[in-house]
């Protein structure tokens, strides 16, 4: 009995929707649009459509996405956490032999202050903040993410070219924001050994 009323209501509702769409379409058709304008709107839709297809295609088939792993962490207790305790920071090999870098951002530096990683190798970074908002990017590379307190920012990338790169804070985090930066050495793949042995003071740009 009840189901029948629901079905009946459902039919009425769909009927209304169809009527609405039909009416909307009729009205749309009645609007005066110049030939030239019609062509331009078509071109616009095609161009935008193409951009959407490229972006969605890259996201789905090539996995090209911005860092978006939603994972929470208590930023006030990083030093007590196992993962982001001081002794566990920096470059590590995980059980699959892949490179994992754990970094803490805090006013005003990234810790550890210097790391060394191999070029042309998949590297996963896990960034956390111990205080306010930060952002980090390594110029001329794809390594860029926001670091929001309360969340772990995870990003996987690789560095094609060996060299000394600065690691820069790119989000206003206080009056000392300018001074918030550190170093990363990207070492040719064949020269890199774990654990990294390049001393921080040895890096002079």
């Amino acid at each position: 009995m009840q189901i029948e009323t629901i079905i009946q209501k459902y039919h009425i509702l769909t009927g209304q929707c169809v009527d609405f769409v039909r009416d909307f379409y009729e009205q749309l058709r009645s609007v005066h649009v110049e030939q030239l304008e019609r062509k331009w709107i078509t071109i616009t839709l095609l161009v935008i459509g193409l951009l959407v297809v490229i972006i969605v295609g890259d996201a789905f088939f090539h996995g090209v996405n911005p860092p978006s792993k939603v994972e929470t962490i208590d930023s006030a207790k990083l030093h007590l956490s196992k993962e982001f305790a001081e002794s566990n920071l920096g470059v590590q090999l995980d059980d699959k032999g892949e490179i994992m870098v754990r970094m803490v951002a805090g006013r005003y530096s990234f810790f550890p202050k210097h790391i060394a990683v191999p070029a042309e190798t998949k590297i996963t970074f896990r960034w956390v903040s111990m205080d306010v908002l930060h952002g980090v990017h390594i110029p001329m590379t794809n390594m860029s993410t926001m670091i929001v307190p309360g969340y772990v920012a995870e990003i996987t990338t690789s560095f094609p070219k060996p060299g000394e790169y600065p690691v820069l804070c790119n989000e206003y985090c206080g009056l000392g924001h300018n001074h918030m930066w550190s170093n990363i050495s990207v070492i040719a793949k064949e020269d890199w050994t774990f654990p990294a042995t390049v001393p921080a003071e040895g890096i002079k740009p």
Partner: protein, 541 residues
């Protein structure tokens, strides 16, 4: 119609807007100078970040909100040919917004709110800053209400008639702003103010950023729509021709109002608190909202071509030369469109879900929004002011040639300022730094661009002073005689006699916005209440 009351109302709003503007221009030039390190004595992060915060609030909130309100009141009354509904209430709105501005100015100027105009919780400013910003917005809500009432009243008196395009677009903007400002209002009322007053101990910065992103995209369309209104309703007439298509204009304003709202996550592409699916959805919406801009570009250029040909222009490009380049409105629209083409190209890069990673939070971003806001949008604010000022003060413009020089120098200065700014971003310079102290070779490449920016800023500052000078001289000029010029709205080449209701009303679109907002922000906001999140205590700076 004696519109002395409307003129006074509009003039008061516009003066507040332009005083905020000129103060912020001086700050802007100081900032490029300080940032370059050219004069070591200037170096001070404390002053710099107080200045950047104030510059952002003055340009982004005060100039825009007051300009839009003043222009909106005058547009409503002149296009509908009725007095502003409830003049007293309009003045209440004005004083609330002004009070808010002054209240926020105290902590900003004393360095007690150096959190930039995007708030950046869990960084914490003095509570007066948040209260002031709230009052500024509350005042603007009164404006939205008055626009809405005037729109509805006119429709009641003129059933089935198309609402004048200028008023239709103004109402679209009021609707857009009511929806847009809700996000930041929630952030300020439930997070920033309670935290600043010590009622709560922690806030979730992820939620704060999500709420701010709700506002952050549509707010730029709130600022841009007056420029588009001038494109459609003033430019064709001033150029000596007709609007190419009234229907396309209405369609563009509707799509702008609807799709500017559910797409704010392109500001959060690089953030960890939202998942990629939501970002992609908002990214697609961001590309959709470029469609009305492309349609606008076409319609405006077509309208200009009609005018050029009516004035005797021949050949494929001959009509461009025969346009009245000495009319400030026409010159401004040409320069505005040139900056829109370049800025729009940059905008598509920012909007691209993955490509954005290359320029995120680099100097490219302020370069982009100065080009598209301070360039494309504000140059049309100038043109509107030059056009309306004589009618508002009932005296002829002090100097047309000064106005033309001012528009040209603004365009040139903006080019010199923003081109190096974009390049700096591509060279990896972060935005929001007060000086370059990184000990790396890369910074050597930045130097020449920073110096060029000082020069561009100087030209802009001079141009801004010329603008204020011209307006003040116009108003103070002792001129006798009756001034009879009235606002002239452009006619469409095919005037619209009747319109389908959905192109003449916002009831349907308001519902569409509600559904789209629910889809694109519902789960992303609710997730914070279901996840195990950890709040952050407030921090100084």
């Amino acid at each position: 119609m004696n519109d002395a009351a409307e003129r006074k109302l509009a003039l008061s709003h516009l003066w507040v807007a332009f005083i905020a503007f000129i103060v912020a221009c001086f700050m802007g030039e100081y900032q490029v100078l300080e940032r370059s390190g050219l004069i070591p004595a200037l170096d001070s992060p404390t002053v710099y970040f107080a200045s950047v915060s104030t510059h952002g609030v003055l340009m982004g909130f005060v100039l825009t909100t007051f300009f839009i309100m003043g222009f909106g009141y005058y547009t409503a009354s002149t296009s509908l040919k009725v007095p502003v509904w409830n003049n007293k209430l309009a003045w209440v709105g004005f004083w609330i917004s002004l009070l808010g501005t002054l209240l926020a100015a105290i902590p900003l100027l004393t360095g007690n709110a150096s959190v930039l105009y995007t708030f950046y919780l869990p960084m914490q400013a003095h509570v007066a800053f948040y209260l002031g910003a709230t009052l500024l917005i509350v005042g603007s809500w009164i404006w939205c209400g008055i626009m809405w009432v005037m729109f509805k009243q006119w429709k009641q008196v003129h059933p089935k008639q198309p609402v004048p395009l200028a008023m239709f677009a103004t109402t679209a903007n009021a609707l857009l702003w009511l929806w847009a400002s809700a996000g930041v209002a929630l952030e300020v009322l439930f997070q920033a103010i309670p935290l600043a007053l010590g009622w709560i101990d922690t806030v979730d910065p992820g939620l704060a950023r999500t709420l701010f992103a709700w506002t952050l995209h549509p707010i730029v369309y709130f600022w841009l729509i007056p420029a588009y209104i001038a494109f459609y309703v003033f430019v064709p007439k001033q150029a000596g021709g007709y609007l190419y298509s009234d229907e396309a204009a209405r369609g563009a304003f509707i799509v702008l109002a609807v799709f500017a709202l559910p797409i704010g996550f392109h500001h959060l592409y690089m953030d960890p608190e939202q998942a990629k699916g939501w970002k992609l959805l908002h990214g697609i919406g961001t590309l959709v909202v470029s469609i009305p801009t492309l349609v606008t570009g076409f319609t405006v250029i077509a309208s200009l071509e009609i005018a050029g040909r009516l004035r005797g222009g021949k050949g494929l490009f001959g009509w461009i030369g025969s346009l009245p380049w000495s009319n400030p409105m026409v010159l401004a629209v040409i320069l505005s469109l040139l900056m829109l083409i370049l800025g729009g190209f940059g905008g598509v890069i920012n909007a691209s879900y993955a490509m954005n990673a290359m320029i995120h939070n680099t100097a490219w971003v302020p370069g982009h929004f100065h080009l598209i806001f301070a360039g494309t949008t504000v140059i049309m604010y100038f043109a509107i002011a030059y056009y309306l000022w004589p009618m508002l003060v009932q005296k002829p413009l002090f100097s047309n040639s000064l106005a033309l020089i001012q528009l040209w120098t603004w365009f040139i200065g903006m080019g010199i300022l923003t081109t190096p700014w974009h390049v700096l971003g591509l060279l990896g310079q972060p935005r929001r730094i007060s000086s370059v102290v990184y000990n790396t070779l890369l910074t050597l490449a930045w130097k020449p661009y920073e110096l060029a920016m000082i020069f561009g800023g100087l030209i802009l500052l001079g141009s801004a002073c010329l603008f204020i000078y011209n307006l003040a001289k116009t108003q103070l000029n002792p001129v006798s005689g009756v001034f009879t010029q009235r606002v002239e709205y452009a006619e469409a080449i095919h005037p619209v006699k009747e319109l389908p209701e959905y192109l003449n009303d916002f009831t349907l679109w308001n519902r569409v916005i509600a559904v789209l907002m629910l889809i694109s922000f519902g789960v992303p906001i609710l997730q914070f209440f279901f996840m195990n999140t950890f709040g952050s205590p407030g921090w100084g700076y």
